[in-house]
């Protein structure tokens, strides 16, 4: 239990994790991440990997939507650029995956700039509609440019190799994903404390005031678009190598929507929220699936309505969170932390 905040030097004051409890929680998290693959079966490892990829993508989207206040419906398109970029670099040019993934992320950042450039002059709804158009156009290009992407055929990406080991199992890929996801989270957490992050928040809260205090609004919006697309492309590229099959169905408008749902449910403008939201949106259908299968013997009709139940619950969760707890899971988590911070003497 803590009784106050006492720092005697700037170093400890500016640390990312300042309080003893925070340090304990971070330690527990790291231990948990290391121990998890030793205990989990492939099913849970698969889910964990999906969550890690989704977390990276959600942090990327959160930079744009949660921090800079620009709504994007083009998440799926940017993930497609990352996935096809990295996949094609590996398949066609034999680039090793540790080079092709960052390269694909860079390509996506450039693609993000191209889309962002015209629409960043506009605010709010218009950007949402412009990114929706970008989504449709990218989907069309991917499915129709047979020479480059193979059209509607799946692109098969060989399993990546690292230190002579083929990363073809969930257990092995887990390590790549966890390291990248942690690095992204750390990068984002520090970014938001920097000049750039503060400028983004200023633009989100009141763009005219931001430009009045000397923030280059257009430049920082572009930077947000590029950074966000970079991370989204990264998550798309990781997905390509993890799944080893790239098909356009994975990058439709539905994907854009489910990522928006992640950051809304998790909490806009928080990194922990990106993780919570990603976890919930990945786990929810899986849990409904398990539930449906366990009901299979008693109620055989359950299997036929399963997809609709998943879809309905997805919509319902979004609505309920927006109506009841607009700040999302991150806020709930904060409530729990605040409760235990002074427990048992919370007067």
């Amino acid at each position: 239990m803590e009784s106050g905040i006492f720092f005697s030097d700037y170093r400890s004051d500016m640390a990312l994790r300042r309080m003893p409890l925070q340090k304990v929680r971070t330690g527990l998290l790291l231990v948990g991440l290391v121990v998890f693959p030793l205990l989990a079966n492939p099913y849970w490892l698969n889910l964990a990997n999906q969550i890690a990829i989704a977390t990276i993508g959600a942090i990327g989207l959160n930079i744009l939507v949660g921090y800079t206040g620009q709504i994007s419906l083009g998440q799926g398109a940017f993930m497609a650029v990352g996935a096809y970029g990295s996949g094609l670099l590996t398949v066609r040019l034999d680039v090793p995956f540790y080079l092709s993934i960052p390269a694909a992320a860079l390509i996506t950042a450039v693609a993000g700039l191209v889309v962002g450039l015209p629409s960043l002059r506009l605010k709010g709804l218009y950007l949402a509609v412009a990114t929706l158009a970008a989504q449709q156009i990218v989907e069309f290009v991917v499915t129709h440019w047979d020479g480059l992407t193979g059209g509607t055929e799946a692109l098969v990406v060989p399993a990546p190799e690292l230190f002579g080991a083929r990363m073809n199992t969930d257990g092995r890929f887990y390590w790549i994903l966890v390291v990248v996801a942690l690095a992204v989270a750390l990068f984002a957490a520090n970014l938001f404390r920097s000049r750039v992050g503060r400028a983004w928040v200023a633009i989100r809260d009141q763009d005219i005031a931001a430009s009045a205090i000397g923030v280059n609004v257009f430049g920082y919006k572009l930077l947000a678009f590029a950074t966000s697309s970079f991370l989204v492309g990264l998550s798309g590229a990781l997905l390509a190598h993890y799944r080893s099959i790239v098909t356009w169905e994975r990058f439709t408008i539905e994907v854009s929507i489910s990522y928006l749902a992640m950051i809304i449910i998790g909490g806009l403008g928080t990194i922990s929220g990106s993780f919570f939201g990603a976890a919930l949106i990945v786990l929810l259908p899986a849990m409904i699936n398990t539930l449906g299968r366990s009901l299979q013997d008693t109620a055989p009709w359950a299997a036929t309505v399963l997809p609709y139940v998943q879809q309905g619950v997805f919509g319902l969760v979004i609505i309920l969170f927006l109506v009841l707890e607009p700040e999302g899971l991150a806020k709930l988590w904060r409530n729990v932390k605040d409760y235990f911070r002074v427990w048992p003497f919370s007067y």
Binding site: G69, Y126, V129, I137, L260, Q310, G312, G315, I319
Partner: protein, 292 residues
């Protein structure tokens, strides 16, 4: 090219365009009343089509009663949605509003699929279908009827916004919510009316689609195809929705008719981006875009 083909493409493009226009008007009504873009408009359309299917084909009501029942049910759904989902969010930021309609679209879609399944259904043609010779080309009578019905409905709506109390109140609220409130306008009432109207126009479009192309899950995608229409016409303009619907419908029809690459799928979106770059408030929209 044949002038026959051209005329046929024109008529089918216009009739598709008028369906777009009807769906777009639903967007416009809601946007005018509350500054919300409703991503669930495609699902309202779907609901309308399936409700008509249920009343006419499954319950065997005569088509006049069936259409009436469809419209009433659609209005009820609009009211319920507004009361349960939108009203708690009055005054929340734009992204919450957008997201809640996205959640709504997922929920409504699940309900429709859960009740009726995803397979296309055969729908009894209740609008007399025959072929009419029109300016020297053979065109389906139902297509012409779609254009006529849409034209009537859109005229009524234009008049509604110009002359009725609720219509004027909607414009007032869209202009400045605070000021409208202080002048004694009930936002709740106006929003309820707006959502009911949006649901009804979508249901009309749904019925017409059901009659011309059949009832299927693909109707949903029309909801997304309407964004170029509203951006082209202007988000807050009923005449804009009509003109935008016509232009986009024709454009799609000609692209589909004269090219073979499936380009008609994205031509509207390319138009959308061009419009956003050149004239973001659309052809008839109000010029209040703030550039920063």
């Amino acid at each position: 090219m044949d002038s026959d083909v051209f005329l046929q493409l024109t008529v089918s493009g216009l009739s598709n365009g008028m369906v777009y226009a009807l769906v777009a008007v639903g967007f416009v009504v809601i946007f005018k009343a509350s500054d919300v873009i409703n991503f669930a408009q495609g699902e309202f359309l779907l609901f309308g089509a399936y409700l008509a299917f249920a009343f006419i084909a499954q319950f065997g009501l005569p088509w006049s009663l069936g259409v009436l029942a469809t419209l009433l049910t659609a209005a009820m759904i609009g009211l319920i949605v507004e009361r349960l989902v939108l009203r708690p969010l009055i005054g929340e930021p734009v992204i919450s509003m957008i997201m809640v309609t996205i959640g709504l679209s997922s929920l409504l879609r699940a309900v429709v699929n859960g009740i009726w399944g995803v397979r296309p259904k055969a729908f009894p043609n209740f609008i007399p279908s025959g072929e009419v010779e029109f300016l020297g080309a053979i065109v389906g009578f139902d297509r012409l009827l779609v254009i006529a019905i849409a034209a009537i409905l859109l005229t009524v709506l234009t008049l509604f916004f110009r002359y009725t109390r609720d219509g004027i109140a909607m414009r007032a609220i869209a202009d400045d919510q605070q000021a409208a409130l202080s002048m004694g306008i009930s936002i709740k009432r106006v929003l309820a009316v707006a959502w009911a109207m949006a649901a009804i126009t979508a249901a009309v479009a749904g019925i017409m689609l059901a009659n011309t192309v059949g009832v299927s899950h693909d109707i949903i995608f029309i909801g997304l195809r309407v964004f170029p229409v509203v951006i082209l016409g202007g988000l807050d303009s009923v005449p804009g929705a009509i003109v935008g619907g016509g232009v986009i419908g024709l454009l799609e029809s000609y692209t589909a008719g004269y090219t073979t690459s499936g380009l008609e799928l994205i031509v509207p979106y390319i138009v959308l981006i061009l419009v956003l770059m050149v004239r973001p408030y659309g052809l008839f929209g109000k010029e209040i875009i703030e550039r920063v």
